[in-house]
């Protein structure tokens, strides 16, 4: 078995381990009593052990791929997102050993699983580094930033559990509606994964030629049936679906098609779930959070921001500036990715000030943590894939 195959297998093992561990964390929170029973504790012990095994396998993936590629595997969308998912698990393990809260695992692991699943929808080839990325700062900057973001994400996980526990979902309040929207967003990601995997399994490929923004003739391959055609497209493959509409040159119709397919699939999926459950998803999830202490959740949410914020500052701003000075001759250039790192940083700075001085604790703080995660995700997904900038090679 070659190193790259081994690397892939290790990632798969980690993925499965996280799934299994999630179930065990489920066992660790069963019951009705306030204090954890002995059986709960045993389930919890098994769950964290499996999580750690998975994490070690995940690290194994990272290291073997690093050796194979000759550079830290954080240089494209697949690699970075996978690493981010891995660090989310790492951050969870860290916080778990401070607070020993199994409910956290029940929510953090599925999120990590979804992130890794999302990552594997992108091309997995080991790509050689372009000159701009050839620097040891790639390793230092990207890994530190990803670790910072993943610790901050745990805050959102704690916030989500807090909201699940404390928002009254039987009433139609702003909070309960937004909470259900969060659930819907999670299902949409699932929709994306299912759409992409399905068409990949079928082997769907449709080649098009089109005219780009600068008037040059280009080629593109769609992996899903084209809903939208690129600017002045022409279908090259036979027997494939003709696009329903043509897009102007500044819109990447291929990505738009994927997004629309994901939304359609996700929405259908969400509708089916609602049909089967006959109630909002959050009301089904809610009982899982019954036994958790809100005060503790609030502290975990705050603590993870406290731990993550300095790491994020160091990785996403300070190391980023040092590298930018080396590579681009200026430490700051208002490139979209830089700006979004600054936005994330400003947001968490506001979070800390609101909490410290304005006493925004509990529900408000939990919502802020969830919004912070949304910003991190926006920076990962939208800024890489939609907004063009110096960092767009990451797509």
């Amino acid at each position: 078995m070659s190193l790259i195959d081994l690397s892939g297998s290790l990632l798969f093992i980690a993925f499965i381990a996280y799934l299994v561990a999630t179930l065990f964390f489920g066992g660790a929170i069963k019951g009705t009593k306030q204090d954890a029973s002995k059986s709960n504790k045993n389930w919890g012990k098994i769950a964290i052990t499996i999580t750690i095994i998975g994490f070690i396998a995940n690290l194994g993936y990272f290291i073997t791929r690093w050796i194979y590629a000759g550079h830290a595997p954080v240089s494209n969308m697949f690699e970075f997102t996978t690493a981010f998912g891995m660090f989310v698990v790492g951050a969870f393990i860290l916080i778990y050993f401070i607070y020993r809260l199994p409910a956290l695992g029940l929510f953090a692991l599925p999120i990590a699983i979804l992130i890794i699943a999302y990552a594997s929808m992108f091309p997995k080839e080991v790509t050689p580094l372009i000159p701009a990325l050839k620097s040891y700062w790639l390793t230092i900057h990207v890994i530190t930033a990803a670790i910072g973001e993943s610790i901050l994400s745990i805050s959102a996980v704690a916030g989500l559990i807090y909201l699940m526990k404390n928002v009254d979902t039987t009433k139609r309040t702003k909070s309960s509606i937004w909470l259900e929207i969060v659930m819907y967003a999670v299902v949409l990601v699932l929709g994306f994964v299912i759409v992409t995997t399905t068409f990949k399994a079928i082997g769907y490929e449709a080649d098009f030629s089109y005219v780009d923004k600068n008037g040059a003739q280009q080629e593109i391959t769609y992996n899903t049936p084209a809903l939208f055609g690129m600017h002045q497209y022409e279908l090259k493959s036979s027997g494939k679906m003709e696009p329903l509409a043509e897009m102007p040159a500044i819109v990447n119709a291929k990505k738009l098609t994927t997004v629309v397919w994901s939304v359609i699939f996700g929405t259908v999926l969400y509708g089916l779930i609602r049909l089967i459950l006959r109630k909002p998803i959050c009301r089904v999830v809610q009982p899982l959070t019954k036994r958790v202490n809100s005060q503790l959740l609030d502290e975990i949410g705050y603590r993870s921001v406290l731990i993550g914020f300095p790491v994020f500052t160091l990785g996403a701003l300070i190391f980023a500036m040092i590298w930018a000075q080396e590579a681009w001759s200026r430490f700051w250039g208002w490139d979209p990715k830089e700006v979004w790192a600054l936005i994330t940083w400003l947001f968490y700075a506001a979070f800390l000030h609101l909490r410290l001085s304005k006493g925004w604790q509990g529900e408000k703080s939990a919502w802020l943590a969830v919004v912070g995660f949304a910003i991190i995700m926006f920076n990962l997904v939208a800024v890489n894939l939609v907004i063009a900038g110096l960092h767009s090679y990451a797509g």
């Binding site: 790259i4 306030q34 300095p310 000075q325 208002w334």
Partner: protein, 558 residues
């Protein structure tokens, strides 16, 4: 100033909430609260005390956390809006094209609105800069407003606090205890807390164990770092602190370096490499991407020279070699605080054109003429009677205007020439206009022509010359910020108060600025060890429930 005198006799400055000495709540409002507000230790905050003069009002405005957070949020939103479309610096505007038109062409009406609103250069707009300036003022004012009183009151805090202070702490417990037992408890607690690395102080019947006080100063330290950083950024506007120049240098040329007086750069070679097929199969799996070539290296091999002290400006003959270097992306040439960065390139720029002077009828050549496009000569002599005069040179020929040939730029992208050819056969000379794939004979048909033979090309490197004297200040600001933020985030200020009361009780209270869970772990350890009263967290729902249940049980017992 209206001083507030506490029941204990201590005189506090106006605006104090908790007596500096004993901790008694001083205002009616504070007395009503179940748990006292421990922010800034209840000390007098200027912005919360005075609000009369204009200065007070400005001070209060900037010291307000609400205002500070609002500025942060507004900055955040404005910054986000600036990423909707590429900023002006990242847009390639062709020579002569209007920037606005470029946005309209690419993004239509939205691009037009975006440009008209000034969002295409948002980060250098005066109002964005003002926003950052306000943020800086807010940081300074708020830090002075709260940091100093907090520091003072922490420094002067007493061991013994009044019971009303302790009761209003989040963590509180009490039990009746004989005096001797209580003394023993105090001794044991003293020992245990020292084991847990707390600083323990005792006074009469009271004990204060404290840990991590410096964490409270973290926010003020990191604010100081930010201010130094922003100061450094502002300093760049001062002349001499910051140099940012572009240098286009052709292979084989020696150019004086803009912004770096007395220094010259010679380019030996520019290299652009892509990954080879072989390298790709090793690293790539079978994929479509593998077909495309991926850039591997951009590199300019240069020699840096310094003019000798005696040299006149522009004299490139007398240069002292300083160093040879290969400038690559991520590997700038650094010298004396200056950096030369590989930023751009042009491949195969025309360097010279070779022509043959040919008799149109016979096709016989009288000789070759080589025109150096960067430095064309006036006359090219072939022999005594044969020569070619260069009457006009248009590096980027763009057409005629009133019969005059026009050139768009000084870079030889599309060279055109007006030649006057002298041969033994045509001693008066013949005029010919020669451009690529185009020959005109404006003054009548000629017997001879300049026949294009071949071209020489060379690569051009686009370098950036940068000097930034503010970097050490920025680095200092960054380091101080990190120290402060780590101090404030990774440590917490924990305190435990114990007191033996005159009526035979042992009371305890504890406070931390964050991480209550960790404080409780410490408290659990010391409570068992030193037989302290069972305490509860007066903010914890579960604890409160237990407390209520206990009280109910108590009712039954009665």
């Amino acid at each position: 100033m209206n001083k507030i005198t506490c029941e204990c006799g201590h005189v506090n400055p106006e605006g104090t909430h908790l007596c500096e000495k004993c901790g008694r709540p001083l205002t009616e409002e504070d007395k009503k609260q179940k748990i006292v507000d421990m922010k800034y230790e209840g000390s007098a905050i200027r912005s919360k005390t005075y609000n009369k003069t204009i200065i007070d009002k400005i001070w209060n405005f900037f010291s307000s956390v609400k205002v500070g957070v609002t500025i942060i949020i507004v900055t955040l939103i404005v910054a986000a809006v600036g990423t909707f479309l590429p900023q002006v610096v990242y847009v390639n505007v062709a020579d002569g094209e209007d920037v606005k038109q470029a946005y309209v062409d690419s993004y239509g009406t939205f691009g037009k609105i975006y440009y008209n609103l000034g969002l295409t250069d948002i980060y250098s707009s005066w109002w964005f800069q003002t926003l950052i300036g306000m943020l800086a003022i807010s940081i300074i004012v708020a830090s002075l407003d709260r940091g100093i009183p907090l520091y003072k009151s922490l420094k002067n805090q007493r061991v013994k606090r009044h019971e009303s202070f302790m009761k209003r702490q989040r963590i509180f417990g009490q039990k009746e205890m004989p005096s001797a037992e209580a003394d023993e408890s105090l001794d044991l607690a003293d020992k245990k807390m020292k084991e847990l690395k707390y600083n323990v102080r005792r006074e009469e019947n009271a004990l204060l164990a404290e840990k991590g006080r410096f964490a409270r100063l973290g926010p003020y330290v990191n604010h100081l770092g930010l201010i130094i950083f922003l100061f450094g950024v502002m300093l760049r506007l001062m002349p001499g602190f910051y140099i940012d120049e572009d240098l286009w240098i052709r292979e084989g040329e020696t150019e004086s370096i803009p912004g770096m007086e007395g220094y010259y750069l010679h380019s030996n070679k520019f290299t652009f490499q892509t990954y080879e097929k072989g390298e790709q199969t090793k690293e790539f799996n079978q994929s479509k991407a593998a077909v495309n070539s991926v850039a591997k290296n951009y590199q300019t091999d240069v020699v840096l020279y310094k003019a000798k002290d005696s040299a006149i400006a522009g004299d490139t003959e007398n240069l002292k070699k300083i160093k040879k270097s290969a400038i690559k992306v991520n590997e700038p040439l650094k010298y004396n605080g200056y950096g030369l960065y590989q930023m751009d390139f042009r491949l195969n720029e025309l360097k010279a054109m070779h022509f043959d002077l040919v008799n149109k009828k016979t096709g016989k050549s009288l000789g070759e003429v080589t025109i150096d496009l960067a430095d064309p000569k006036k006359v090219y002599k072939i022999d005594d009677q044969t020569k070619v005069e260069l009457k006009g040179y248009y590096p980027t020929f763009s057409g005629f205007d009133n019969g005059e040939p026009q050139s768009e730029s000084p870079i030889p992208n599309n060279p055109a020439f007006i030649f006057k050819m002298y041969t033994p056969e045509t001693p008066k000379g013949e005029t010919s206009f020669v451009a690529i794939k185009q020959t005109l004979e404006p003054l009548g048909t000629t017997k001879y022509k300049m026949k294009f033979a071949s071209i020489d090309t060379r690569n051009v490197s686009g370098l950036t010359v940068r000097k930034d004297k503010t970097l050490p200040i920025l680095a200092l600001g960054g380091i101080i910020f990190m120290i402060g933020v780590v101090m404030g985030s990774y440590w917490s200020h924990r305190r435990l108060w114990l007191q033996k009361t005159a009526d035979g009780r042992l009371i305890m209270a504890a406070h931390t600025n964050k991480n209550w869970f960790s404080l409780k772990k410490d408290l659990n350890a010391v409570t068992d060890f030193a037989h302290l009263p069972a305490w509860i967290d007066q903010q914890d729902e579960d604890d409160l429930k237990k407390k209520q249940e206990n009280e109910k049980e108590g009712d039954h017992n009665l």
